[in-house]
């Protein structure tokens, strides 16, 4: 048998729990009556709010405009009235402006978009501008503004454009459903990005635990007028991370602190490419995203197309509510997501999943002392020494941790997952990075 590709260093194999929602076809969530729209939904500078309290807004209207190169605008998901502008504390502790939007009683028929080919006549700059103006960001979780990613720096050449269909986080199935149901859209998105990057090779990476997606994508790329390779990858977490995926597909290693373009690669998630398709081909701004609502605590796990600004509580209700007593509700995947303390938290551009986890699914045992067993070192895909870094951080010596590669940590959670002493290693790394950034800012 042919050896499947994967990244060589570290990695773990958590139980994937994808069966819960994998067979649930995408359905549209019922629109709520109130939306909460934060201005900081992407990496970089928050958007500048352009409306004020009492304003009438229509679907697709700009609510916040991009405030710099690494920034993105925010659009209204609905026809409605701006009730209030409040300060909201995001789960990461950051405070941001947010709009409370009340939907109008009677929504006009939503605009119907039809694909048009006119984008093919646009030049690169115009295409990028269109992507930027539609607020498209990386929907894999990092929410990095898409137009920045697709801008090739002068003097660089793209050898590989890698389409990320890995979805290595357990539980989440939104990308999987998207690949099955919206294949043409994704491929058109790839076509748009192809014209921007002009890559040598286009590769779609999918892990071999999704044979159906592999088959569908393989069949679909046959019909294209440009070559695209679909590569099955050996199951291993965190393969969906940019650096690991590049290593797995091309064998190239992104240098510490560098961007993928340094090794001639650009990686983009399938959901982002679908967003690009909607923005460029359909002219529709990013006001909706796919969210997997799953976990053993939810009545009917589902893959929902959700308008941004909908509250988590609303989604849980639409999925039949809780079946068992939930002990933890997580936004994102179980490895990298964060637990929610407030169900009124809105879905933002970065929300990939809502997990309702029960007692059996959550390990809440107490932290004990480090055993020095070295498991975290073995599983770290970046080749770091999590336990040593944690000790530096625990002793407040953040510079020493940084000198040993702390900033390379991507918080993938492999170390904390494998730690028998249940040390909150990832939280430690996050703290260390936060303190380093704080110090730099001063």
């Amino acid at each position: 048998m042919k050896q499947l590709k994967t990244f060589p260093k570290g990695g773990v194999h958590p139980a994937d729990h994808k069966a819960l929602a994998a067979d649930q076809a995408i359905r549209r969530a019922d629109p709520p009556s109130v939306y909460v729209i934060p201005m900081a939904q992407h990496l970089g500078k928050p958007a500048d709010c352009t409306v004020s309290s009492g304003d009438q807004v229509t679907e697709g209207m700009v609510l916040g405009s991009s405030s710099g190169f690494i920034s993105a605008p925010v659009h209204s998901p609905v026809n409605g009235t701006v009730k209030e502008i409040v300060t909201l504390q995001l789960p990461n502790g950051q405070k941001t402006q947010a709009l409370i939007l009340e939907a109008l009683e009677s929504q006009e028929e939503p605009p119907v978009y039809t694909p048009s080919e006119d984008w093919k006549n646009l030049d690169k700059q115009a295409l990028l501008e269109r992507i930027a103006s539609m607020g498209v960001v990386g929907l894999g979780g990092a929410t990095f503004p898409a137009h920045v990613k697709f801008t090739v720096p002068k003097g660089s050449k793209v050898d590989y454009f890698i389409v990320n269909g890995v979805e290595c986080e357990p539980y989440l199935t939104a990308d999987y459903r998207l690949m099955l149901e919206e294949t043409p859209g994704i491929l058109q998105g790839i076509d748009v990005v192809r014209s921007l990057l002009q890559p040598e090779h286009i590769v779609i990476g999918i892990e071999n635990n999704k044979p159906e997606a592999l088959r569908v994508m393989r069949d679909a790329v046959e019909a294209l007028d440009f070559p695209v390779e679909v590569v099955p990858l050996k199951l291993k977490y965190p393969q969906g991370d940019e650096k690991q995926l590049i290593k797995a597909v091309t064998g190239r290693e992104v240098p510490s602190g560098g961007l993928p373009i340094a090794v001639g690669a650009v990686v983009s998630n399938v959901a982002t490419l679908y967003g690009v398709y909607e923005a460029v081909v359909l002219g529709k701004p990013l006001t909706e995203r796919l969210v997997t609502v799953t976990g053993q605590g939810i009545q009917k796990p589902a893959n929902l197309k959700v308008k941004i600004g909908t509250s988590v509580a609303e989604l849980i209700e639409q999925c039949g509510g809780f079946v068992k007593k939930p002990v933890k509700i997580v936004s994102g995947g179980p490895m990298m997501g964060f637990s929610l303390s407030d169900l009124n938290t809105p879905v933002t551009k970065g929300t990939g999943g809502i997990l309702v986890l029960t007692e059996e699914e959550v390990d809440r045992k107490n932290t004990t002392a480090c055993l020095q067993c070295g498991r975290c070192v073995q599983v770290c895909p970046m080749g770091l020494h999590p336990t040593r870094l944690y000790k530096w951080i625990d002793h407040l010596d953040y510079e020493a941790a940084a000198a040993e590669g702390l900033m390379d940590c991507k918080e993938c959670g492999s170390c904390a997952y494998s730690c028998p002493a249940r040390i909150p290693l990832v939280q430690g790394m996050k703290l260390g990075k936060l303190m380093i950034r704080k110090k730099k800012a001063n």
Binding site: L90, G93, S341, D342, K438
Partner: protein
């Protein structure tokens, strides 16, 4: 005989090594600017790092070689700054007022409401990175004791109610706790301050009342009761201008949530180790 031999052997070896050391000390001596030594001697030697350098010796070197600001030594205060100025032959203007750190919050499990149960690293900055902390009030003391960890003289501890308190008689005013505190609830006040407003929340009064029973609600009672006391309410939070010399007793007595506290009452209690403390030291 054996005793004699071993005695001789050790004596000879000891002598040789001694000579070796003496020679090395002369031959390898490092030239050091006399002024560095003098400045170092003038510094308090606490090595607290409050100046931003690795320790007193590093600061002394920076003053002489890199013209670093000579007023950075908070523990030494005005006296040390003047002494250094004399050594360096420059003039300096400093105030004689000693500052100490104070926690401007009395919110704890009994007086505050909480958003969630936190079960992670016992570090305030780590907790603050999650929704700005587990208290519903996002301005207050998070109580995990990051300030205690960085305090070079152990001036900060819990009192019997679980509040974090600075002992102003131990504090050397290095300011490290102020730097590390994510909510900014740790602030410097003059050592001579008689009262502090033990609240840091700029939420509206109604919200503060919902979150906490001892938070300042911005009612301006203090302004009225002690007009000479230097109280001003800004952003729903009372502040004290310590240059005002009037009495502040009336205001403290009249304050509805009782958040104007006498500084002399704020001391880490020397009570037996509470469960809370135990948990914190474990981290």
């Amino acid at each position: 005989m054996i005793i004699l031999y071993s005695f001789l052997a050790v004596a000879v070896l000891g002598g040789l090594f001694g000579i070796g050391l003496a020679v090395a000390a002369k031959a390898l001596a490092v030239e050091k600017d006399d002024r560095i030594l003098a400045v170092e001697a003038a510094l308090p030697g606490a090595n607290c790092g409050g100046c931003g350098y690795a320790g007193c010796a590093a600061y002394a070197e920076a003053i002489v070689k890199e013209d670093a600001d000579i007023t950075l030594c908070a523990p030494g205060g005005a006296a040390v700054a003047r002494a250094i100025a004399e050594i360096m032959g420059i003039s300096v203007e400093v105030s004689d007022q000693k500052m100490v750190a104070m926690v401007h919050c009395r919110g704890n499990r009994d007086t505050c409401t909480y958003k969630f149960d936190y079960n992670g690293i016992r570090d305030c900055n780590a907790l603050y990175a999650l929704y700005g902390g587990d208290k519903t009030c996002s301005f207050g003391c998070l109580g995990l004791g990051s300030c205690m960890k960085v305090c070079p003289v152990d001036a900060i501890d819990y009192d019997s109610r679980g509040n974090v308190v600075v002992d102003r008689d131990v504090c050397i005013s290095c300011g490290k706790c102020v730097d590390v505190c994510p909510t900014g609830v740790m602030k410097m006040v003059p050592y001579s301050a008689d009262y502090i407003v033990a609240c840091h929340s700029i939420d509206k009064g109604a919200l503060v009342r919902k979150y906490c029973t001892v938070g300042c609600i911005g009612c301006k009672m203090c302004e009225k009761k002690s007009p000479e006391g230097g109280f001003t309410v800004e952003d729903f939070l009372a502040r004290i201008d310590y240059d005002a010399r009037g009495s502040r007793d009336e205001a403290a007595a009249a304050c509805p949530p009782k958040c104007i506290l006498r500084v002399s009452s704020l001391k880490p209690d020397l009570v037996p180790v509470t469960a809370l403390q135990e948990e914190n030291e474990e981290a």
